[in-house]
Subunit: 342 residues, 2 copies
């Protein structure tokens, strides 16, 4: 079962004309006579001719492929982003090549290099947790490869970026709790090394200030409660043992929120009547707990779409066009559920 790809040459030989003519006929070039066009088209149809896009890429130095560097495919937020990217890319005739860094810097470097070698037309990047050296990205940028960052952006490189308004998300989550009448609101923060977690914290602080509430540093637990419910449980224990315990918790992510909720219940306290809870990310399970968890929905799909749009725009810009870098900030949405409504 040989792989017998039909080429323009095959058609040309069969019809006893030159490959050039076949090429032009297929493209409906005015130079070619209607009769020849018809013959060519019919034979191409009959043989199920498919243009070899590798040859096309080589000639045009355009691969119609965009590369995506992503920290973790399995995370809901990220896979949603891929879905959004894919949506726009396919509609615009691009294929999507995915490379997963697995939160490893070394892997990220290899991935960008591999994508570069595959001559992707552009690249969408969200950096790994480990990444602090940007040489591999600067290399691509200097080579003129169109690049757009999403979610985890690199400030020192001048290109378009798409981020979530984490500040606003933190602000709205906290404001919501305040409006529900909670007064002592704690925050389970994420690792300060990541910009987004600092933003959520700042939004939290702003909401407190705006409503005349004090910022009590003992209520801000800055440890890495990011992805481990056990850490969250331990931190919540600590909060509940304070002389003046909080009456609400804003967690930097849903897993932490759930961990907090479990611990609170273990202490015989009620959610939301004794303690209110808001999480972050709108994981599916937040709609399935008891009570359901109020959370901040991040627009992953839209983020993927927007990033892909910006990238394709940059790729398809004529050389003389000046592409100005833009940073799109997508709004989050507060999803109010049971855990925060008294």
């Amino acid at each position: 079962m040989k792989s017998n790809q039909i080429t323009i040459k095959d058609i040309a030989r069969e019809l006893d004309i030159s490959p050039s003519t076949v090429s032009r006929a297929l493209k409906d070039h005015p130079d070619i006579s209607p009769k020849t066009k018809k013959q060519v088209r019919e034979l191409a149809e009959k043989l199920n001719y498919q243009p070899n896009s590798i040859a096309l890429s080589l000639r045009s130095s355009k691969s119609n492929t965009i590369g995506v560097v992503i920290p973790q495919v399995v995370h809901f937020f990220f896979s949603t982003i891929i879905s959004g990217i894919e949506d726009i890319a396919y509609a615009a005739g691009y294929s999507v090549m995915v490379a997963q860094s697995n939160e490893s810097y070394d892997r990220e470097v290899m991935d960008t290099k591999a994508l570069f070698n595959n001559r992707v037309d552009g690249i969408l990047v969200s950096m790994s947790r480990e990444t602090t050296d940007y040489a591999h990205l600067e290399f691509l940028h200097n080579r003129g490869i169109p690049m757009v960052f999403y979610d985890r952006v690199c400030d020192s490189i001048d290109c378009s970026k798409v981020v979530v308004d984490d500040f606003d998300g933190g602000y709205r989550a906290t404001k919501h709790l305040i409006e529900q009448g909670y007064k002592r609101i704690a925050h389970l923060a994420g690792p300060h090394s990541l910009h987004m977690f600092r933003q959520r914290l700042d939004g939290y602080k702003k909401a407190l200030q705006e409503h005349g509430l004090p910022i009590d540093e003992s209520l801000i637990l800055p440890e890495n409660a990011s992805d481990d419910e056990n850490v969250a449980k331990e931190l919540t224990e600590r909060l509940l043992n304070l002389d003046e315990r909080p009456d609400a918790i804003f967690a930097n992510n849903d897993i932490a929120a759930l961990g907090a909720m479990i611990t609170i219940k273990e202490h015989g306290l009620k959610v939301p009547s004794d303690i209110g809870i808001v999480g972050f990310s709108n994981w599916r399970f937040t709609a399935l707990t008891e009570p359901t968890i109020t959370t901040v929905a991040q627009p992953g799909f839209e983020m993927g779409q927007e990033a892909a749009r910006l990238l394709i725009e940059a790729i398809e810009a004529k050389d003389d066009e000046v592409i100005t870098s833009v940073t799109k900030v997508l709004k989050t949405e507060l999803v109010v559920r049971g855990s925060s409504v008294k």
Copy 2:
């Protein structure tokens, strides 16, 4: 900022030798003198030469890319599979091109065509829910493109396949409940149109029979409880209102299991003492509920790995080798947690 890719020709010109010599020098060909090799290698290093893999692909008619057709990237199980595919593919020097069918037949046809046009070396396919016509896949197969199915397989095409042993999963889940002393075990089944759900049901039945328990059709709710917790809740209501209510529920998926658990609690019953529960898929939240939910873990990562391995093996087989199709059946793992242990 022109895209100035360094080519072999650039190196050749700079060193005043021929491109052939450069190519051979870089490949450590014995014909080339050590001195020339050294010069070439040093200059290549200095200019950061990266071979143009498109040109390589064209020459060798091998793209070192594998295509993946996947129904839904955002599903945990599928994204885990991608992760496994990616893992093996990158280790073997292949890039991964992802195309999402979104459970649409039309989209799946377009996707396979697009991947074919991109001249992927092979393709991994899991069919969409809608797919009942296999012409587009047969076309690829007849063209000699190596192909491996995973999870949602097509029986009528002769190629390797990787599936989960859903029968065994259903069997083990049910057996576990029986061993825990549950006697009247209900089953929230998935849509019968999908093979895997029928398998889970059959495994359930086998376990009952093997342990001398009757198969009570009133305890098998065959409706689509697949992805909607509300359906599961309603079905559970029905079960609880039976004259002789069940003392355990095996749900075809974790969401349904959770829905059942919530409903049971609403009725003032206890899990696991009054009613035991087992789910399917090992979604993350099953470890976070109260009680935690016993479930059947599907080896998504391993499935991706295995499928990628089989595909690459087929791709790299010499023409004279005869590739025999194999079907790998991966075992599930029962994850015993709180919801099923009295």
